[in-house]
Amino acid sequence: MTSPTLYALTGAALIGIGFYGLIEAQHLLRRVITFNLIGSGLFVFLGAVGARNDGFDPIPQALIITGIVVALSASALAVGLVVAHSRASGRATFPEEDEDA
């Protein structure tokens, strides 16, 4: 077991955790956050691929840096939509879930 393997497995587990959170989430802010968890799990996996065999691969790193910044901008847009939705409807969940409950 080497360190990159450890981080790759962590990344894989983070993706699973994030997906579970996304499926379970009802509050919209929680959805945005769990979606970010999936994304960063993928970044960790990709970063571990770049670090295999004591290597230093700049291409995954460059992709991850742009990915992190884009993830932040997408989250900001999503959060803006959540706030606008809540302002219009008075709730931070989608209507179909309220019918379920």
């Binding site: 077991m1 360190s3 990159p4 450890l6 981080y7 497995l9 962590t10 894989a12 587990a13 983070l14 993706i15 699973g16 955790i17 994030g18 997906f19 579970y20 959170g21 499926i23 379970e24 509050h27 802010l29 956050i33 970010n36 968890l37 960063s40 970044f43 960790v44 996996f45 970063g47 571990a48 770049g50 670090a51 065999n53 290597g55 230093f56 691969d57 700049p58 291409i59 790193q61 460059a62 991850i64 840096i65 742009t66 992190i68 910044v69 884009v70 932040l72 901008s73 989250s75 900001a76 847009l77 959060v79 803006g80 706030v83 606008a84 809540s86 008075g90 709730r91 931070a92 409950a101």
Partner: protein
Amino acid sequence: MTLIFDAMLCALTLGVALATVLGCGVFRTIVFFVVYGLLLSVAWVRLDAVDVALAEAAIGAGLTGVLFLAAFGKLTRIGVEAEPSPKRFHLPAALGCIGLSGAMAWAWFALPEPHRPTPDLSDALPRAGVENPVTAVLLNFRAWDTLLEGTVLLAALIGLWILTRDEDWHHRLGRLQHVRSGGVMESFGRLLPPVGTLVGVYLIYIGADQPGGAFQGGTVLAAVGLIAALAGLLRPPRITECSWRMALVAGPLVFLGAGVAGEVFGVGFLTLPGSIAEGAIFIIEVALGLSIAVTLALLVIGPPEGGDSE
């Protein structure tokens, strides 16, 4: 010993991620997500990716926290009811997600052995004009990606501004920030930005040779600007202000200009010949760093909200 450290860090990261997902209450989720970002920036250093760690430190530990906490505050002021009900544990969903993780783990062991650094890349690096291979990839070899990425940021900001209510359009972005004059928050807002600006500019400057560059420095500058804005010392602009709009598009515009120049001089669109690559990359980095900083700061500040109309 380092393996024990890695194992501990991974275990802690997974524990915090689980707490983010399973904890009741959105506030607890946000707090654990900020802690998660902090741990991740340590993990990037261990994965030999200092460039990524620099960006993650400014974004994960700073900007996302402010973004989600501010949104949480807005939702509670709107009067949104608390998160519905403690959730039941869904076994099928959990099993499916475990299967997904298992598939990813299998993919890791099934991946072919890499040849590193790839022969093409090690041939090309001396012609890139910069010492830092990550900067070389970002601004020279894969310049297309980076140019489009700058455009995506701009698109996200425009999308966010579209959500503005009509009556707020001519107000300043975000909420009106006010602090006690001479208070702790104001002093903090005066002390930190000079140091932070220095660090951000330094990161952009050294990006050619060492870990750093437009993205890393830009995120640092964005967080610095956010601190100054929260302390009420830097008033956010209005959407209609022309100079700020220029700052938003400066990076993509300069980048595009360099790309067109490459086409005109017959080396191909977005191709930087080795002789001028160093200077061109530096100019692009400065412009792009500025644009990233302004765009990210304005994205976190959010659309204009007028006074206290809620």
